[in-house]
């Protein structure tokens, strides 16, 4: 928990430009997951497992 807090604090202290680059990577990753259909498959799997 403390380690997670530390990590978030460290990320928060980065310059805005750096944080926006991370944001862009997060967005690209989300889009790639959505395009691959992985998310839909995971939801279907979850529903099947109740």
């Amino acid at each position: 928990m403390d380690r997670d807090k530390e990590r978030r604090k460290r990320l928060a202290s980065l310059p805005f430009s750096e944080k926006l680059k991370i944001l862009e990577k997060l967005r690209e990753r989300s889009r790639a997951i959505a395009a691959s259909g992985l998310r839909k498959r995971a939801i279907r799997q979850q529903k099947r497992n109740g």
Binding site: K9, A12, K19, L20, L23, R27, S30
Partner: protein, 171 residues
Amino acid sequence: MKATLEMINRMQADGVIGKYAIGGAVGATFYLEPLATADVDIFVLLPMAPGGSLLSVAPIYEYLTARGCRVEGERIVVGDWPVQFLPPHDALEQEALAQAVETEVEGIRTWVLSAEHLIAIALETGRAKDYARIVHFLEQDAVDADRLNRVLMRHGLVPKWQQFERKYLEE
């Protein structure tokens, strides 16, 4: 994001928009760790139309589509990012724009809403993701409590804040 901000600044220099500031998750990222989001909220002042007619974001869309940007529902893709342009709809958002913080992204001048205004707008909007963002600000001590109190008082949001505190901070 650089290309997005460059295009918005050009649009401002060309007089299509007045002052603008980044809000939402991207704005919050100025103060916090990066918060995943699919789009950018830009609060924007629109120049008064001749005759004082109703303000519309149509000139923004016309300007941007003429420069190759693509409309996606309520958003328009500028550079790499879908952007939603939001003219201020109440006194809180007008004040938020007036008091936005100037910064730079990769050498490009831009403005971001203050942490206190981002919180007040999130409180007013009131979706689950907005409340989660407020919790992030509080957890990371990224807010000036006195300044936030003054914003909440000025805009009649104290009762809503007390409700939020009871529901999310006291459990």
